[in-house]
Symmetry: C2
Subunit: 255 residues, 2 copies
């Protein structure tokens, strides 16, 4: 039966919002959540697609832009294969029953993608990265979230509480990302992220920093660690590149 115009528009807006949060929804779910028939759902979707707010797929729909972790998804695609290569080098260091901390950022995320297949028995994953949580939830891996604050459109739980919570953990291997590496050490731009990384390093037996070649020689606002702090660099940069940036070659794995 006919409903008022503003009800229709409100429902369509709700559907658009829903899709932005959920990325993708099957038609059936849309019907259930909005308590409407398939016919009306189709009509709403057609209208939303006509105005360019969503994209239709057979049997469902998805929001085209600005998903939950927009910048993350964007960066993720780039050099995906190379990042996987770095992550694969860390895999042998994750032994059965050990605890691994997975940092935010796209390169550590690449490691998380390898874990379901790797099937390491009794592996514990500690992470504040929501993409990692989403990826691994329901995959059989034991997941532990120290907790913290999710600000703005970030994809990482940070803040003072996060740092304190992380101190409670005994970690075997930390897997970190960095935005830059110079002869003086590792760099990242966000101080809150660095604070969290430092807490992870302090509680870890070993810490790997995964860095793709183009970041060699760059520095950023906040220093994560110096070379004397025992971090282990994993990179696909050539020895030549490393030497020209005066990166010490000790304790390092090059792929």
């Amino acid at each position: 039966m006919r409903v008022s115009k503003n009800v229709v528009e409100a429902r369509r807006q709700l559907l658009a919002d829903l899709l932005q949060n959920q990325r993708y929804l099957p038609l059936e779910q849309i019907c259930i959540r909005l308590s409407i028939s398939a016919a009306t759902a189709r009509r709403d979707l057609s209208e939303l697609q006509r105005t360019g707010r969503i994209r239709r797929t057979p049997g469902g729909a998805l929001s085209d832009f600005s998903d939950k972790f927009p910048s993350f998804a964007e960066r993720l695609g780039r050099d995906s294969e190379r990042k996987n290569g770095l992550a694969r080098q860390v895999l042998p260091h994750l032994f059965s029953g050990s605890t691994v901390y997975i940092d935010g950022g796209t390169t550590p995320f690449a490691l998380a993608r390898l874990l379901p297949e790797a099937e390491i028995p009794g592996l514990k994953v500690v992470t504040n990265s929501l993409p990692v949580v989403e990826l691994l939830s329901g995959s059989g891996v034991s997941l532990h979230i120290p907790g913290g604050d999710l600000v703005a459109r970030q994809s990482l739980l940070i803040g003072e509480r996060a740092v304190r919570a992380l101190r409670d953990w005994k970690i075997d291997v930390s897997v970190l990302g960095a935005e830059g590496v110079t002869e003086s050490g590792f760099w990242n731009s966000a101080p809150e992220v660095v604070a969290l990384q430092k807490a992870a390093i302090a509680n870890s037996k070993r810490s790997f920093v995964l860095v793709t070649a183009e970041k060699i020689g760059h520095r950023a606002g906040a220093q994560l660690a110096t070379w004397s702090s025992g971090l282990e660099l994993v990179t696909d940069a050539t020895e030549k590149q490393l030497q020209s940036a005066r990166i010490p070659l000790a304790k390092m794995e090059v792929g």
Copy 2:
């Protein structure tokens, strides 16, 4: 014709990368770009979905870190409109600048769905429910996750660490779910969930328990609270239903 194992794996990885970049690809596009038949494309997609790297849709596929929380999504649909009704009753109690704790379960989740529209300035949401986190991340609401352990295919962070972390918070309003309500109080089946709820109640000025009518009179394994503990029942049950279950009518909101 058969191709070598590494060719297969490389192609699947390429497909996963492709999907990460494109978000969504129709099956036909996958066939064209990888020069494979629909049958092989389907097989590749099935394999990638099995390892949790992508999500299948009818007629295509999309990259989706979140396998989402299937059992949760399933329960969500049931009585969706009635749960929304309960949630709407809580909304007026969330004032500007206040802190609200949103419990796991589908009924408290219904409240989370109302928050982006409600646009309560300065509202802080504290939750260990991953569906709530996913729903609200990037919606402008300030999100805080106490943290904890994610076990099996649960969608809630629980455990001793979670309880301790929650004790750090000062909460204005807690919104909880319950599996049963009797004359002796509120009930839930999982003791770890109850432990978390008790911590939330202890740190909250007010606590609402959202319960749909069919749960009236039922009890479960673990008692959450008695009627003397000051919890406020929000339900769509009739007075008659409540009286026949000997539920005290004080301090309660009926919709």
